[in-house]
Amino acid sequence: MLNIKNLEATIDNKQILNGLNLDIKPGEVHAIMGPNGSGKSTLANVLSGKNGYEIKGVIKYNGESLSELSTEERAQKGIFLAFQYPLEIPGVNTNTFLRTSLNSIRKAQGEKELDTLTFLKLIKKKASELGIDEKFLSRQLNVGFSGGEKKKNEILQMKLLQPKLSILDETDSGLDIDALRIVADGVNSYKNKDNAFLIITHYQRLLDYIKPDYVHVLSNGKIIKTGDSDLGIQLEKTGYSNIV
């Protein structure tokens, strides 16, 4: 599904990614762990198509070169990034945002757009699955939401938009244990043989709930070690310093 070869990324004359390689197949869950400043969020930004990065190397998504695609086209083709810091957008109603998003993707995929009523039914169902109060849906997008509410809102979007590749950028940060479990349940219930996850995290604790098939250690813009879920548990005990 995703093949990254020798990826380099530079921003403001500073090279952050230094030849990163990664292959993700449908049905797989990959975790990327690493110390601060190792390039985790840069990888997420580059995959989502954020402007400002100078890119070298190859990123193929289902055989297509990702660098040719705009951010919105990537999303329309099934790439989803759950933001580390979801943005607050004053004046934009959450429901309106969600419906515009879903319909933009449906339209691009040649599907019929949903009318307001059908949409509202769908979103209420998805929200209740994640324990999100309906009232949030009529508020301004992320404005005044707590950290946990914002993160839950990201998972709600994931479940609504049904992406093929979901990138979760430190979705566990700022979550209490209950919220963490809800988020993990959201991911686990969505996981199937056709979609894949790239979970970026500092800590093992999210991986206690979402079991990864592969754990990669990112350091200095490169993957320096890959293992199975035991690697994450080991890292939690020994820290990064023994590996990096």
């Binding site: 989502s48 198509g49 954020k50 402007n51 705009s70 951010t71 919105e72 990537r74 999303a75 329309q76 989803f80 990034l81 933001f83 979801p86 943005l87 957008i89 004053p90 004046g91 934009v92 309106t96 945002f97 515009t100 998003s101 933009s104 993707i105 691009a108 301004q140 979007q157 938009l161």
Partner: protein, 414 residues
């Protein structure tokens, strides 16, 4: 630049010789300076003389009423209406209301000229005014439905100026939701010069909304002076995007205790549109509140101006005055000028003002795009969110929805 005017008082019908003389005097006073230009501090960001020179070959006046009577009516909510054609009252309908509670008539130009001279447009108005209305709401009467004033302008107005005066009086304990609706889609250029006098007596509420039906090649100037009495409120919602030129010159006099006023404005300016909102809020007495929030989005080579002044008289203790201007500038060739002014002669007051301008936060655009929303739509959503905030306090649901839809159309360029 010298303007090519052709103003003739003898085009106006049914004038007494006394009126003719008075009008001639006013026309002479106008000719002494011509249209206001940037040398006048109040016009320094909107050089009307230059703007008219660049867009009109000549400007004439007329007292001719065309036969066009078919105009598009708002069908989003039930309402009373007054219909004006080229500034003249042509029809009215108050069928939702009790009889004898509302008085509406042509403005009587023979009456005193109850406006202070602000600039040469005032003299021009006195010289050439032919239309307008006088509206009065009876004591203890709250209108059941809003009143829409249809300001229709005919296609025959090419290079013509319309001058008129209006008077609106709300007597004690009355309420009115007023929607000034500019109803014109003519491609012809014309000018409208309006002077309006508003009196809101004790315990009353006036909501004054300004919006237009579509893009319009009209050049508008409107001066509103208002006298707000005890426990009364005067609210303004200004959304006239799409006019070629518009200057609203609003003076609010908070003349008795516990009177309140607000000015909310949301403008999305495109191409070379130019709009100015100028306010003067006079806190003449203690315990009054004023609130202003002015939002502009500037595209293309458009220009937006906000000159907002708060004046607090020495006796006006416990004044609470707030003023905020926010602008989003989307093009290097667009311009926004803000001049906030506070003039305070009392020592126990709460006055604050702020002005910011900047571009759209591209991180927000990225967030929306990462959800599959095309870039153009993402910008529209952000602009809409930015502007529609000024409607938050408007409590009338149907009017609010109507204005929100208008705003969406304005952002899409109609």
């Amino acid at each position: 630049m010298k303007q090519n005017y052709d103003f003739k008082i003898n085009k106006i019908k049914n004038l007494s010789s006394e009126e003719i003389n008075l009008r001639k005097k006013n026309l002479e006073l106008f000719y002494q300076t011509g249209f206001p230009n940037k040398k006048d501090e109040n016009w320094k960001f909107s050089d009307l003389n230059l703007i008219l020179s660049n867009n009109f070959n000549k400007i004439i006046n007329n007292d001719f009423l065309p036969s066009e009577t078919e105009f598009k009516i708002i069908d989003d909510f039930e309402h009373n209406f007054i219909s004006l054609l080229n500034g003249k009252l042509i029809s009215k309908d108050f069928s939702y209301e009790e009889k004898d509670k509302i008085s509406i008539d042509n403005f009587n130009h023979k009456n005193e000229l109850s406006f202070d001279s602000k600039n040469s447009l005032y003299f021009l108005n006195n010289a050439l005014a032919t239309g307008g209305f006088s509206l009065e709401i009876s004591k203890n009467y709250k209108l059941k439905k809003p009143l829409v004033i249809y300001n229709n302008f005919s296609n025959s107005l090419k290079e013509t100026i319309v001058n008129h005066k209006n008077s609106i009086i709300l007597n004690e304990n009355s309420e009115l939701n007023l929607i000034n609706y500019i109803n014109n889609s003519s491609k012809e250029n014309f000018m409208v010069n309006t002077l309006e006098n508003i009196k809101v007596k004790k315990d009353s509420l006036l909501k004054n909304i300004l919006v237009n039906s579509s893009k319009c090649n009209g050049y508008f100037y409107k001066y509103i002076t208002s006298d707000i009495k005890k426990n009364s409120t005067f609210e303004n919602y200004l959304l006239p995007s799409g006019l070629k030129f518009n200057k609203l010159d609003i003076e609010i006099n908070l003349n008795e205790e516990n009177s309140n006023s607000s000015v909310f404005s949301a403008l999305n300016l495109m191409n070379n549109e130019h709009q100015e909102i100028k306010t003067q809020i006079n806190h003449n007495t203690p315990h009054c509140h004023s609130y202003q929030k002015v939002k502009n989005v500037l595209n293309g080579e458009s220009k937006g101006v906000y000159q907002g002044k708060i004046f607090v008289k020495n006796i006006a203790q416990k004044t609470d005055a707030y003023q905020l201007s926010k602008a989003l500038i989307l093009n290097d060739k667009a311009e926004f000028d803000a001049k906030p002014e506070l003039e305070i002669y009392a020592d126990d007051v709460k006055c604050s003002h702020g002005s910011t301008s900047g571009s759209v936060d591209l991180n927000l655009i990225h967030y929306l795009k990462s959800r599959g929303i095309p870039e153009k739509k993402a910008f529209e959503m952000l602009i809409n969110g930015f502007l529609s905030e000024v409607l938050e306090r408007l409590s009338e649901g149907k009017i609010k929805n109507f204005l929100k839809e208008k705003l969406e159309r304005q952002i899409n360029g109609y």
